[in-house]
């Protein structure tokens, strides 16, 4: 089943205690990279956002060291393993994995759709103007005609 799965994109964010030394954070990142490699995934990006203020208290901390990763995988168990590792490590106080590929796909689709529509629009406007006149109101059209281009220009 896993072989048939499309490649999925995940956002992985974890927060370490603010007092965690840099080495420890690096160690966590390397372990994650290692297990990702083992399970056939790929880490696209790793960003260290540094120490940021938390919106609420987490494990009695008001600040945390944020690390953001983008993981690609065709194997669903990878996320399970990564989350297990994050749960086990003491320095990590919070983590979140989000599957993003469907939303990115939707984004691309909408972008393409818009491009196509933008390409079509100028052609449609010219023949579209005349049929707008025969609308219920019988007396109005004479007054409307000058207004039509103004309304469409908006």
């Amino acid at each position: 089943m896993d072989a048939n799965m499309d490649e999925r994109v995940y956002d992985l964010i974890f927060i370490c205690r603010p007092a965690t030394p840099e080495d420890e954070v690096n160690k966590i990142v390397t372990t994650l990279e290692h297990s990702t490699g083992e399970l056939g995934g790929k880490i696209e990006k790793t960003e260290r956002w540094g120490t940021r203020r938390l919106a609420y208290r987490v494990a009695k901390h008001r600040e945390g060291f944020f690390v953001y990763m983008v993981v690609k995988s065709t194997h669903g168990d990878l996320i399970k393993e990564l989350e297990r590792r994050l749960k086990v490590s003491d320095a990590v106080i919070k983590y979140q994995t989000i599957r993003l590929d469907e939303e990115l796909k939707r984004q691309q689709k909408l972008g393409k759709h818009r491009e196509r529509r933008a390409g079509r629009r100028p052609r449609k406007q010219a023949p579209g103007a005349p049929p707008q006149q025969p609308v219920p109101a019988a007396a109005a059209p004479q007054q409307q005609q000058p207004q039509v281009p103004a309304a469409s220009a908006e």
Partner: protein, 140 residues
């Protein structure tokens, strides 16, 4: 705040005749348009949200009835204007204007966001909350 009518029914200009105007912006959700033209029955439907004093129900001529004492500016979805196809939960500065001081998600009727973007926005805010980028509720 308490008595805000749900659809942002705001005739931008009183001048355009009702026959072609709704067609031009049909995709924006079609606010009920109070037409000054003919058709008294339609005018009644438009007066659903009920402005202060309910001038829509007035027996006066149809031309006068359309004129409002107050003008509500038509709210436009900010995301539609900028052609946003994906609302990123990591961009907190982008989400912050849609969250109240105490952390509540602002309703559509306040911000003018379209239903699709409000749906995405709500999801993004909830994700940001989960990873402590936004508060669930601010502590006192």
């Amino acid at each position: 705040m308490s008595d805000q009518p749900a659809p942002p029914a705001a005739p931008e200009t009183p001048s355009p005749s009702p026959s072609h105007a709704p067609r031009a912006e049909g995709h924006t959700g079609g606010p009920p348009r109070r037409s000054e033209g003919h058709g008294g029955g339609q005018r009644r439907e438009g007066g659903g949200p009920g402005g202060p004093g309910g001038p829509g129900g007035g027996p006066g001529g149809p031309r006068r009835g359309g004129k409002r004492q107050y003008f509500r500016k038509k709210k436009v979805c900010r995301f539609c204007v900028e052609h946003v196809d994906f609302i990123d939960y990591k961009k907190v500065e982008m989400l912050q204007p849609f969250v109240q001081e105490r952390g509540k998600i602002l309703p559509r009727r306040m911000t003018g966001t379209c239903s699709r973007h409000q749906r995405w926005l709500g999801e993004a805010i909830k994700r940001a909350r989960n990873i402590a980028l936004l508060p669930f509720a601010t502590e006192l």
